[in-house]
Amino acid sequence: MRGNHVLAEAAVRAGCRFYFGYPITPQNEVPEYMSERLSKVEGGVFIQAESEVASIHMVIGASMTGGRAMTSSSGPGISLKQEGISFLSALELPAVIVNMSRGGPGLGNIAPAQSDYFQATRGGGHGDYRTIVLAPNSCQELANLTYGAFDLADKYRTPVVILGDGMLGQMMEPVELPPEVQIKKLPHKDWTLTGAKGRPSRFIRSLILDPFEEEEHNWKLMRKYERIIKEEVKWETAFADDAKLMVVAFGIAARIAKGAIKRMRDEGLKVGLIRPISLWPFPYKAIKELTKKVRHFFVFEMNMGQMIEDVKLAVEGNGEVHFYGRPGGIILTPLEISRVISSYYYQKRIG
C-alpha cells in the first residue's frame, strides 16, 4: 500500500470518524482515501474544507464532542493550522495532525524534505505548549504510529503530530494493518460537549483572563508534558553495541542512513544509528547515555540542521556533534551519505 493510504486506513481502524482536510501535495491521497472510506463507515464524516484554517477548527469542533478527529496537510498548510494547534493544546483536546512535509520555506516544492522539524517540535503556534511528534520511517511504522497516535491524543488530551515527508507518503510497501477498534469500547471521556442532558452544563475555553488562573493552567499543561516526557519517549538504535560514531537521523533520513551504515560496516567502520521516533518528547537521555561510550555524533537530516540542536542539548558537550544535510527536497543516496560519514570518520581518526 501507498504510505498516505496506509496512514488513512490506520486512522479509520483506530476509530477516526472525523476527517477534515484541504488538498495539498504530497498528501492528497489521504483526503482522497478518507472521502471514500468514511462514507462507508457508520457516523463517518469527511469534509473538504475551504482552507487549512477551517479544517483544523472543524477538528476542534468534532473533538469537543468526543470524536476521534484528524486532519492532514503539508508544510504550507501546516503553517495555517498552527492557530488551531495552539487552541487544541490550550483547550486540552485530542486530535491527530499529519504533516507529509515538503521542501520549504514558502511554497518551496513538493519533494520530500524534513524542514518542518522546528515547526513540529517547537510548535509554530503561539503560547507555551508542546505537541507529541511522531516520525515514522516506513509504511509499517506509519500504520502503527498513526494507530497509536489516537490513543496518545486521548490519553493526554493533547494534539499529536505525525511528521512524515513526501517520500513516506508516496512510497509503497507491504503492511500488516492493525485491527479495527470498537469505538464503543474506547475509554469514556468525561469532558465532552454533547448537550447537558442529565448532568450539569460544561464549557471548554482557552480564555483565562486572571493571570493567576492562566498560570495555573500553564502549570497544569506543564505537569502533563512532564508525564509525557517520562512515559512516551520512543527511539531505536542499530549497530550501537560497538559503535565509535553514532549517526542520529529521524524518519526517512534514518532509513537512508541505515543503508549507508550497512555499507560502512562492510568496510569495517564502527558506525551505529540512533533514530528518535518521538521527536517530542526527544530521547535526550538515550543520547546522553550513549556519550559514555561514544564521542562522535553525526547528525544527518534532509534540511539545513534542525534536530542537531536537540542532539547538542542531549550530548551536553560530552562529544563532538557533526552535521550533514541537504535541504530543498533533495533525496540523498546511501552511497553519498556513506562517503560523507566515512570521510569524517577517517579525518577524526575514529577507527
Binding site: H57, L91, L207
Partner: protein, 252 residues
C-alpha cells in the same frame, strides 16, 4: 399568584459584565428564553466567539465550546456533523464573522451546514476598544477611522447577511435589532425560527442583530438606540433576507 416574569432557566445566576446599554445582555436573555421555551437546554451546544461575548459560557447554563476569532462556523461544522441530533449555534460579533471569519461563514452557509448563527452587529470591535469593523458605516468615527470612515481610505462596509442570502445552502437569514421592545420581540421570534429551521434540517440559518454599543459609539444608551434606527438600519435594513421554509413572511 401567577409568575409572569423570571430569569430563564438556561441562564446561570451570574450578573452580566456588559456595559450599560449594550445589546449583548438583552440578546443573551432572549436566547435563554428561546432555549427554555423550545425545551432545548439539554441538547443545545453554543459556540461563543472571541470578543465582548467571549464570556458567554459564564452566563448560559448549557454546554459551550469557545472558538478562536472568526472560526465559529468551522467549529460548529465539526460539532454539528459529529452530533447531528443536537442543536448547535454560534454567537459572533461583526469583526468575528464579517472580517476574520468571512471565509468560514460563507463556506458553512454554502455547504448548507445545519447550524444557526447569531450575528451581533454593533459596527465596531467592542472588546478591543472600538476600532473600525467591517460593518462600520461611512462617516462613523472609530479609533482606527479618525474623522469617520472614508470610502477612499477605509473601503466600504460589508453587508454580510445579504451575501449569505445569495449562498444556495442558506435556509433562513433575517436582520433584526434590539433597540426597542418591538424589535426585541421580533429578534426573539427570529432566533426561535432559526433554531426551528435547524431542527427541521433546512440548513444554515442566521439572525443578524443590530445592537447598540453606547460605550464605543460615545453615546448615551437612549441615543444609541435611536442611532440604530435612524442611521444603522438605513445601511443594514431590517427584515427577512431569505426563507426557504415556505412560511409566510410574518408567520414566525
Amino acid at each position: 399568584m401567577k409568575k409572569v416574569f423570571s430569569r430563564p432557566k438556561s441562564l446561570k445566576r451570574i450578573p452580566f459584565h456588559y456595559c450599560p446599554g449594550c445589546g449583548h445582555s438583552l440578546l443573551h436573555r432572549i436566547i435563554g428564553e428561546v432555549i427554555d421555551e423550545m425545551n432545548l437546554q439539554d441538547r443545545i451546544i453554543g459556540i461563543p466567539p472571541a470578543g465582548c461575548a467571549v464570556l458567554a459560557y459564564f452566563y448560559f447554563d448549557i454546554d459551550m465550546g469557545e472558538a478562536s476569532h472568526g472560526r465559529g462556523a468551522a467549529l460548529a461544522t465539526g460539532m454539528k456533523r459529529a452530533l447531528p441530533d443536537r442543536v448547535v449555534f454560534t454567537y459572533q460579533g461583526d469583526g468575528d464573522i464579517a472580517a476574520i471569519g468571512t471565509a468560514e461563514t460563507i463556506h458553512a452557509a454554502s455547504r448548507g451546514e445545519n447550524f444557526s448563527t447569531i450575528f451581533v452587529n454593533n459596527g465596531v470591535y467592542g472588546m478591543t476598544g472600538g476600532q473600525m469593523a467591517p460593518t462600520t458605516i461611512l462617516g462613523q468615527k472609530t479609533t482606527t477611522s479618525p474623522g469617520g470612515r472614508k470610502e477612499k481610505r477605509d473601503g466600504l462596509p460589508i453587508n454580510l447577511s445579504e451575501m449569505l442570502a445569495i449562498a444556495k445552502g442558506s435556509a433562513f437569514i433575517e436582520r433584526t435589532a434590539v433597540n426597542s421592545p418591538a424589535n426585541i420581540l421580533r429578534t426573539k421570534k427570529a432566533i426561535a425560527k432559526a433554531f426551528r429551521v435547524q431542527l427541521e434540517g433546512y440548513g444554515f440559518s442566521l439572525v443578524e442583530v443590530l445592537s447598540p454599543c453606547p460605550t464605543n459609539w460615545k453615546m448615551e444608551p437612549v441615543e444609541a438606540c435611536r442611532w440604530v434606527d435612524e442611521v444603522m438600519a438605513v445601511h443594514f435594513p431590517l427584515g427577512v433576507l431569505k426563507d426557504v421554509t415556505g412560511d409566510k413572511k410574518d408567520d414566525h
